[in-house]
Subunit: 335 residues, 2 copies
């Protein structure tokens, strides 16, 4: 139903040639000349596949820098691969645009290329389409790992400890600040703290450097994208267990700590708001030392926040008093 | 930025559990419990990957039956796999919706499940998201083939013959009829002929039954999605050759033949309009007999429409007079 161009090379092809061909460095991408790409997984390996789309006005603000939009789209997928213990192998992109804005596209492709290089996850192919709606970036990402070694949500066992990477709640607080900039003053944040939270919303920091350690040591894992409370609940439900988390042990950034000190209600946002893109995993106690050593080498902070207990009920989050805390909502949902 | 639901199972999870979990029959889909799936390609095989999105108001009409929308989204990807000679292995779905409409979703999932079964291409995973825009269905599909045997656009050689599957132009005429229903009468189409064209637009017929024969016999191949003239041009450009096609040999349905008889201008739509989802391939003459025998077994019509000639220039389409025909546009473009 689109317009037709009296040109042997369509605007769509020119767009792909100009912005995306330079990113297609993998030999199996065939320079984007074909409609399909080829991956030859190493012998004895499984392919891990994941897909996540981000939508303008839902997952990012329409005026977010286009390079950050591209990076977020790729990173939310990289985060899934990391939590499963897989090494990135490449990705396909479906880019749906309301119009061709050359400077937007240039910055988008630049950001995408930077992250494809940084995470060794090359563009393999995809397509571009027009829409009457917002920019929508759908990515399917692929990783490899030795056969049968994927780390699932299933597998956590009573007695396992629960660990979390990085810091929890920054992304959700960054989003809150975007909607309510005055909160920065109420929370008495420094400029740097405000920027830290804003950046953590804008640019997830997927923990791919820790993927191999997760694969070697975790009994179960997932990335936290919809809030710690809800996502730990999903992991526990899948494993048929429950968990107890000491809220005081949940790793917080200085900025989040300051916000929480100024307004205790912020706890709800921190623990249920989503956009963390950290990894939570369950682990046998005797594996924690090796995991922490690997995390130190990888430069990723890991923190023990609680333990796994027999029998599926929603996990309990305990205040310093030992009493369980109730949350308004447990998990981010799009609908 | 979405609404939050005070419920341990979010609306998004209920949606997935209700409509999509029953489709996730592949063991590597883990019942959609995890954020990622696993494929173990058979030893010695390559994985072929392709992604195409379809957008409401662009690739389909908002009031198209939802089961047909689902099938079209999967089939445009299956068509790419077929043209590359790959056997379907599964797909990921990113479904972006303006709202949850239970009856729409039920029909969508039913159609998707029917085709996943019919083409042995199971749902492996994906995600659902909200949008302020139209329904957008992004699919990434995967196939397997013996290592190094993918059929590319590159590889056509002078002396090869060009073959096309099925019939050309029906999809574009079906779309034309959707926009201009009066054309059916001007073209003196029977109800059955009108429905044939409408169906060919609504539901592509990817030629996956012919994939193995394409892999065994073709020097180069692609699926025709943006019009025969432009797509053959892309294949020739990739291969560094040109081609001559005798227009009278291009396979047309009875309905398209009738439309063309009533209005010679329709030729442009037939040859450049797109939405064919047929395969064109280049083939050494001594392989044609075996290919045609395989096509007969597969129940897919194949027709020799021209030949490959040395030196890249846009392919020539010759009228019965032997004179080349010029087209208003060569190829469908979204922009």
């Amino acid at each position: 139903m689109g317009a037709r161009q009296p040109d042997p090379q369509s605007a769509e092809e020119r767009l792909i040639a100009r912005y995306f061909r330079p990113l297609a460095k993998h030999p199996g991408a065939f320079n984007l000349v074909d409609d399909a790409a080829v991956l030859t997984p190493p012998a004895g390996s499984d392919l891990v596949l994941t897909a996540d789309a981000i939508v303008g006005g839902v997952h990012f603000f329409p005026d977010d820098p286009p390079d950050a939009v591209a990076k977020k789209a790729l990173r939310v997928n990289l985060s899934d691969l990391a939590a499963k213990g897989a090494k990135p192998a490449g990705f396909l992109l479906s880019l749906v645009l309301p119009q061709i804005d050359q400077s937007w596209l240039e910055a988008f492709a630049r950001g995408l290329g930077q992250d494809a290089d940084a995470y060794a996850c090359p563009l393999l192919g995809g397509d571009t389409d027009r829409t009457s709606g917002p920019v929508t970036v759908s990515i399917a990402a692929f990783g490899t790992l030795p056969q049968g070694t994927i780390v699932r949500r299933v597998g956590a066992k009573s007695g396992d400890r629960i660990l979390a990477t990085g810091s929890i709640g920054d992304g959700a607080l960054g989003l809150l600040l975007r909607r309510d900039p005055g909160a920065a003053q109420r929370w008495q944040l420094s400029d740097r703290e405000r920027e830290h939270l804003a950046d953590r919303y804008l640019l997830p920091q997927p923990r791919n450097a820790l993927a191999e350690a997760v694969r070697r040591h975790a009994s179960a894992a997932m990335d936290v994208s919809d809030g710690l409370v809800g996502d730990l609940g999903k992991l526990c439900a899948a494993s048929g267990v429950t968990a107890e988390v000491e809220i005081d042990r949940v790793p917080l950034s200085d900025a989040a700590r300051k916000a929480l000190a100024a307004d205790p209600d912020v706890l709800d946002t921190i623990l249920t708001g989503g956009d963390d893109y950290e990894i939570i995993c369950a682990m046998q106690p005797d594996k924690i030392a090796a995991f922490c050593a690997a995390a130190t080498t990888a430069g990723v902070a890991v923190t023990e926040i609680g333990g796994v207990i027999e029998g599926w009920v929603p996990p309990r989050f305990l205040a310093a008093s030992g009493k369980p805390v109730a949350f308004k909502a447990t998990s981010f949902s799009h609908f």
